[in-house]
């Protein structure tokens, strides 16, 4: 068990190290002088202002110091949680800016991931080997899973918000409201949350449903299912076993999909101007706020890695064989 986690932790640490290094390398090794590029994009500046800004950037990036020193400094700052300051956030520390947007993204992601996974699996399992349901779930599943997140968001927004006016079109809460712990604010929050959540949920749902359907068919054909049937076990028991075993690869699948789902959340937020990290990222790009951009990158990577690790733990909990293997089964 310790070995298993040790290996996983090593991979994740290595991944984080590599990802953060890429993050550090990009501004330094992109073609052209990054500071000049940054300056050029700042638009009209007084000569003194330009000189000050240039000096500021050079010091910030530490471009005048040897590379190893820059690299070391980068890591020291990173470990201390110092990701620089955000231009877009009017000089607020990047970490703080990101943390203030984080709850929105998490509120979107966590329910969307868990619910779509649960609902998709349940539906897929029901559909497998049931003719009419299967022929309905399958095409819908394929269409949903082939849909770009932002487009589904656009369609939902157009139909449910623009045409039918059931949900608000954009934002995290109404312009006329201040965040407060009131019932009215909460209802408004949920109303704004609904559409972006639905976009993420639906795309994910399609993929999981198809995945589960295929897995469970495989399991229903396996030897243990045949044995149960040969001994006259009712379909309910056979399906129950098949479902449980088909869940296991779906848990692994969840880990593999995390990056994609997170990316989906980022673009969905943009569609709905939902004030999470995705929208922050969009604004960072638009205002060429590189500290913010790179800070978000570090956050996203760290988030995905942590989530991966959680899935690893979950897998051990659900698959008894891993536990047996780890305590050294007697073969």
């Amino acid at each position: 068990m310790r070995k298993y986690f040790g290996r996983k932790l090593f991979t994740y640490t290595l991944t984080f190290f590599i990802a953060a290094t890429i993050d550090w390398l990009i501004p330094r090794f992109m073609p052209g002088d990054p500071v000049a590029g940054l300056m050029a994009r700042q638009g009209a500046l007084s000569p003194e202002g330009a000189a000050a800004l240039s000096k500021y950037y050079n010091e910030l990036f530490g471009l005048n110091r040897p590379l190893w020193e820059q690299f070391f400094g980068f890591w020291t700052a990173l470990i201390q949680g110092d990701l620089g300051r955000s231009v877009f956030g009017h000089g607020r520390p990047v970490a703080e800016t990101i943390l203030s947007a984080l709850p929105y993204t998490l509120a979107l992601l966590i329910p969307a991931i868990l619910l779509s996974w649960w609902a998709g699996n349940t539906f897929g399992a029901m559909a497998a080997r049931r003719k009419w349901l299967d022929s309905a779930v399958l095409p819908v599943g394929y269409i949903l899973t082939a849909t770009p997140y932002m487009w589904l968001g656009l369609v939902l927004a157009f139909v449910l918000a623009f045409l039918l006016r059931i949900f608000p079109l954009s934002g995290g809460y109404g312009f006329n409201l201040e965040p407060s712990l009131t019932w009215a604010f909460f209802v408004d929050l949920v109303a704004h949350w609904m559409l972006p959540f639905l976009s993420l949920f639906l795309v994910g749902f399609g993929g999981w449903a198809i995945g589960m359907r295929n897995m469970i068919i495989y399991e229903l054909e396996s030897d243990y299912s045949r044995y149960l049937e040969a001994l006259g076990a009712p379909q309910s028991l056979v399906r129950k076993y098949a479902f449980r075993n088909a869940m296991l690869p779906q848990v692994t699948g969840l880990a593999l999909q995390l990056g994609v789902i997170v990316a989906g959340a980022l673009v969905t937020e943009i569609v709905f101007s939902y004030p999470g990290i995705g929208l922050l990222l969009f604004n960072a790009i638009k205002s060429e706020d590189y500290f913010l951009l790179q800070g978000i990158f570090i956050f996203v990577i760290a988030g995905v890695l942590i989530a991966n690790f959680l899935v690893d733990i979950a897998y051990i909990v659900v698959d008894p064989r891993t536990r047996v293997g780890m305590r050294g089964g007697t073969a």
Binding site: D223, E229, A230, L231, G232, P234, R244, N245, R321
Partner: protein, 320 residues
């Protein structure tokens, strides 16, 4: 008479048409009898075994009847058969090593299986423990996952589970073929002891290995290309076979003590016909040195002596 099968035909559906894997089988197994079912791959022996308990997706019931202890088995009806499975007919499948759900503890799986059939696990458990002891498994295996057991242990566990409800007929499908010589003997002897203890009334042991049947079976039924060739008590089949296929097959088998230098054995030239549109008449005739013009007609499976039936014109006489 415990089992009576008459004119059973089961085909396999394939894209090119029906494969006549089992084409008219008539035989019976008596109480307390262990009948060996022997033949080469593709002769229909597993089809016959499977059809008595569960037709898989591609198998198609065509004709015939199966009677067990006076009850007609609805083998064409997946749901209708459920009542008889496990209690009356049971199976130790070829895939015994992977027959148990890998993510359930063996005891729990057994309990859930029994409860799902309306049996009480608590009531049966003492007997289960006794039988585990008999096959040399510790009670502790019930708290383990299949992955924790060796191949031989899994096989024995499945043997115990399959026979828990004392079925009238047990089908053992190629259960010794994947095993090492030393385990093979233990498994075969355990099978016989199950019959001796009365856990099962009668048994059908399917294998390609005649020497295993010589050690365990009371009678042997030899199949060839979807048809029955010969059935007789074990000693008769091994020492005085009548069907030319049986004769040639047995004389081609090497045994400890037979050396190439002293006695060169010979196989049967040719290969069995494809069972998709097989030729009419005796299916062995293309390889048979005794074949004559009558063999284009299908030879009937006829009793030539008490408990000894053969399907061959040369043996039964062409006017039979």
């Amino acid at each position: 008479m415990s089992l009576q099968v008459s004119d059973l035909r089961v085909y396999y559906r394939s894209l090119a048409g029906d494969v006549q894997a089992l084409d008219g089988a008539t035989f019976s197994i008596a109480d307390k009898e262990i009948m060996g079912l022997a033949g080469e791959s593709g002769c229909g022996k597993s089809t016959l075994g499977n059809s008595l308990i569960r037709l898989d997706g591609r198998m198609k019931y065509v004709a015939g009847s199966v009677t067990l202890d006076g009850n007609k088995l609805p083998i064409w009806d997946q749901r209708g058969m459920n009542e008889f499975r496990f209690r009356d007919v049971s199976v130790i499948p070829q895939y015994a090593m992977s027959a148990m759900n890998p993510t359930r503890k063996i005891g729990k799986m057994t309990g859930e299986l029994l409860e799902s059939r309306g049996e009480s696990y608590q009531d049966i458990k003492p007997e289960l423990l006794r039988r585990l002891d008999l096959v040399g498994l510790q009670q502790d295996v019930l708290n383990r996952y299949p992955i924790e057991l060796s191949g031989g242990m899994k096989q024995r566990m499945v043997m115990v589970i399959s026979t828990l409800l004392n079925p009238s007929l047990l089908i053992a499908d190629e259960i010794t073929s994947a095993l090492d010589v030393s385990t093979q003997r233990a498994v075969a002897e355990t099978l016989v002891s199950f019959r001796d203890h009365g856990f099962v009334k009668s048994m059908m042991v399917i294998t390609h290995d005649l020497s295993i049947l010589y050690q365990t079976a009371d009678s042997i039924l030899v199949m060839y290309a979807g048809k029955l060739a010969e059935k007789a008590p074990t000693a008769t089949i091994i020492d005085k076979p009548r069907h030319p296929y049986t004769k040639m097959l047995i004389s081609s088998l090497p045994e400890v003590g037979i050396r190439y230098a002293n006695k060169k054995l010979a196989g049967i030239p040719g290969s069995p016909p494809a069972l998709l549109n097989p030729p009419a008449g005796c299916r062995f005739r293309a390889r048979c040195p005794l074949a004559f013009d009558k063999c284009v007609e299908e030879p009937p499976f006829i009793q030539i002596a008490p408990d000894h039936s053969v399907a061959c014109w040369k043996v039964t006489g062409s006017d039979a």
